[in-house]
Symmetry: C2
Subunit: 407 residues, 2 copies
C-alpha cells in the first residue's frame, strides 16, 4: 500500500487504461513539499468535454479550454497550482497557450491537443521559466500506479488539506470500463456551474458530444450543488477525457447510460469531498430540499441556506437554530408558502405549519456535535423539484485562513 503524508478518505481507485499522471514541485508554491505542476496524459487521442465558470471575469486557461472542448484528438491536461493566471490580460492568454505548447513538446504531441488548468492567486503573471521547467520534470515522472494518481491530485491542491480522488467502473457492451476523477477546492467555491478544478478520465470510447452531454448533466447535480463560501471562482473547470483504451466503439444506448451513472457517482463523491474539506470546516452540511416547483427552484433554496453565514455558524455551534434556516428559505427569491414548510434537522422535526414544534434541543445539538455531517431536510410543498446540496460550516479558522492568505 502506497503511503502519503496527506490523509486519504477512500482507497485509491484504479486508473483507466491508457493514461499516465505525474506531478512535481517546480517552485510556483514556496513550500518545496507541495507539488505545483501536474500532467494528465492519454497515450492516444481522446474525446474531451468541459464545463466552466460562468464568472464574466474568467481566467486565461478557461478561455483556452473553452475553445478546445468539446472536441476529439485531445491528449491531456497540464495543470499548475499556486497561481490562477486570472486577470492577466493578453499576456496571461499567451502564457496559457505556451503551457500547452511546452507540454505538447515534452510529450511529443501537438500543443493544440493539450488542455490547461490553473489555480491559486489571482492577478499575478505566471513565472513561466519555473512553469516550463516543471512541465519537463513532470513529463519525466509519469506513471499509472496509485502513487502517480495521488501525487497528481496533490499537484492541484491549494489550501486543500487532502487530495480528492474518486473512481468507479461499469460494463458497456461486455467491455469493462473505468472512470477516475480528481479535484481540488476548499474556498472560492460558489454554487453556479462548475465550481472548482476537476479532471475525470475514462477508458471508455465516447463521441465528444456525448461526453459533453454526460458531463454537463453530472456537473449540474454535483459540482453545481456544492458551496463553501458562495464566491464563484474565475477558474472553475471540470474536464472529462475519454480515450477508448478499454476497446470497442463509441458507447451508445445502455452503455452510454451506464457511463453517465458512473460519471455522476464520481463527480458527486468529488463534490462532497470539496464541501467536507471546505476551509476551516468542522461540519459538512447536506441540504435536501424537496417539494419545490422544479429542480432550479429547489437548488436556489438550498444554495441560499448553504450560503447564509448565520446558518453556517449555527451548525458550527451545534445550535438547532431553525429560524435561521427557515428565514433563509424565505429570502431565496423562490415563491413559497411559509405555512407549508416542514424542516427536519438530523432527522428531528423542528418546524411545520408555520409554527414551532416542541423538540429536544439538547439531543439535536448533541447529534450535530457528534457527527461530521449535518443533515438539513426542508420540504417546501408537493412539487416534483428536489435537490441535494453540500456545503460546509463557517468557523473562525475560515476567517483566519482568508485574512492571511495573500501576504
Amino acid at each position: 500500500m502506497f503511503v502519503t503524508d496527506t490523509p486519504l478518505r477512500h482507497p485509491v481507485p484504479s486508473l483507466p487504461r491508457g493514461y499516465r499522471l505525474g506531478a512535481v514541485h517546480a517552485g510556483i508554491k514556496r513550500n518545496a513539499s507541495r507539488e505545483d505542476v501536474t500532467l494528465v496524459v492519454s497515450d492516444r487521442p481522446a474525446a474531451a468535454a468541459g464545463v466552466y465558470t460562468t464568472n464574466l471575469v474568467y481566467a486565461a486557461p478557461v478561455a483556452l479550454d473553452r475553445s478546445r472542448t468539446p472536441g476529439r484528438g485531445l491528449r491531456g491536461v497540464v495543470i499548475n497550482s499556486g497561481n490562477a493566471n486570472a486577470c492577466t490580460g493578453s499576456r496571461g492568454l499567451d502564457d496559457a497557450r505556451r503551457m500547452a505548447e511546452v507540454a505538447g513538446r515534452e510529450l511529443g504531441v501537438a500543443g493544440e491537443a493539450m488542455l490547461v488548468m490553473s489555480t491559486g492567486i489571482i492577478g499575478e503573471f505566471l513565472p513561466m521559466a519555473t512553469v516550463e521547467q516543471g512541465i519537463a520534470a513532470a513529463a519525466a515522472v509519469l506513471g499509472d500506479d496509485e502513487q502517480a494518481a495521488v501525487t497528481a491530485a496533490r499537484g492541484m491542491m491549494t489550501t486543500d488539506t487532502r487530495p480528492k480522488i474518486a473512481g468507479g467502473g461499469f460494463i458497456a457492451d461486455g467491455t469493462a470500463c473505468t472512470v477516475f476523477g480528481m479535484a481540488k477546492g476548499a474556498a472560492m467555491i460558489g454554487p453556479k456551474l462548475a465550481t472548482m478544478l476537476a479532471v475525470v478520465i475514462t477508458d471508455a470510447a465516447l463521441e465528444p458530444e456525448d461526453a459533453q452531454r454526460l458531463l454537463a448533466a453530472a456537473a449540474e447535480e454535483t459540482f453545481n450543488c456544492v458551496s463553501v463560501d458562495g464566491h464563484m471562482s474565475t477558474n472553475d473547470t471540470v474536464l472529462f477525457l475519454a480515450n477508448g483504451a478499454a476497446g470497442g466503439g463509441p458507447l451508445q444506448g445502455a452503455g452510454l447510460e451506464a457511463c453517465g451513472r458512473t460519471l455522476h457517482a464520481v463527480c458527486e463523491s468529488l463534490a462532497r469531498e470539496m464541501a467536507d474539506d471546505g476551509e476551516g470546516a468542522t461540519h459538512v452540511m447536506r441540504i435536501e430540499v424537496t417539494g419545490a416547483a422544479g429542480r432550479d427552484a429547489a437548488r436556489q433554496i438550498a444554495r441560499t441556506i448553504a450560503d447564509s453565514p448565520l446558518v453556517k455558524t449555527a451548525v458550527h455551534g451545534a445550535d438547532p437554530n431553525w429560524g435561521r434556516i427557515v428565514s433563509a428559505a424565505g429570502y431565496s427569491g423562490v415563491a413559497l408558502d411559509p405555512a407549508r414548510l416542514v424542516l427536519r434537522l438530523n432527522g428531528t422535526l423542528l418546524f411545520q405549519a408555520g409554527a414551532p414544534v416542541s423538540f429536544d434541543a439538547a439531543a439535536v445539538s448533541a447529534s450535530i456535535q457528534g457527527n461530521r455531517e449535518t443533515l438539513i431536510e426542508l420540504a417546501v410543498g408537493d412539487g416534483p423539484g428536489r435537490i441535494r446540496f453540500h456545503s460546509s460550516d463557517l468557523t473562525a479558522d475560515y476567517v483566519r485562513l482568508n485574512a492571511d492568505y495573500h501576504t
Copy 2:
C-alpha cells in the same frame, strides 16, 4: 450632558416636538441592565409610513404594521427586543395585536393607532405577561429629553454594541422642523429592502402618501444599501411618523423636498452605523460603484462584493487582494466587460484594462490597517448608474457571536 454606559458616536440630536419616548427592562432579555420594551408616543395623531422586509417568512408585527401603513391617525410604536415574534403562526399575530392593545390602553389611545416592532430570537412565543408589564412600566417613564432618546434606542438593541441615533432639521414655509431617527441592527442584515428596525419621527406635517413616498425613496438608497452578512431578516421594518406639532399644514413643494433630504441624511447615518457596528466588525467597507447601466445594476455589483466572505476577510486582514473584488463583480449577474473595470482601494489604483497594475502593496495594506473605513471604488463603464453601499468585514468574532448566540 447625559451619561450612558454605551458609547455614542454622535451628540444626541433634539427630539421633534410632540413626541415622548421611554424604555424599560421587562425581563424578555436575561441581562437586567438591558432595556427590552420601548415606547414611542406622539401626543397627537400622526401620519405614518413603513417599509418592510421582502422575506416571504415575515414576522407577526410586520404583518400587522403593513395593514396600518401608510395611514393617518397613528399614535406611536411599541417595540420589544429579545424575541422576534417570527415563525409563531396565528398565536404570534394575536400577540402582536395584543401588544398594540395594551400599549393603547396604557396611553389612552386606540390599540389600532399603535404600530409594533419585535427583534430577537426567531421561533419562540412572546412571554406576554412580561411584555404587558413592560409596556405599562415604559408608559410610566416617557420623556422628551436626551436620556429618553438614548434609552429608547437602547431598548431596540440585540447584539448592537451601541445605540444608533441620528437627527436633522429643515425649514419649510418658515417653520423649523426636526427629524429624529433611531435604529438597531448588527447581524441578519441583508441587502434587500429595509434591513433592520428603525423608527424615524418628525414634527413636520405630512400627508401619509407623501410620507410613504419620501421614506421609500430614502430607504432605497440607505437601508437598502447596507449589509452585514447578507441574511435578510424576517422582521426588517422602518417606520416614519409625522405628527405636525411644528405647526403649519401638510408640506408641499420645496418644503416636502427639504423634508426628504433631511430624512435621507438621517437614514443614511443610521444605515452606516449599522454596518459600522456589524457583529465582530473591525472595518466598515464603503463600496462606491459607478458607470453601471443603472442604479439597480450598480447596487447588485456592490452587494455581491459586500457579501463575499473572501472580500470581507481580505479587508479584515488588511490585504489588498483585489482579485477577490474583481471576481466578485464578475459573478454578480450584471453584464460587464472585465477590460473596462477600474478598481481603486483607499484611493490607490489596483486594476484596469484587464491586467494588474503595479502598486505599493505595503502602503495600501497599511492604509487599510490604519483606518476604520475601507473605501472600495469600482468603475464598470460609462453608464449613469452609481451606488454607495456600506458593509462590514468578516472576523472570527462574528463566527463566535453567531455560533454561540442561541444557547
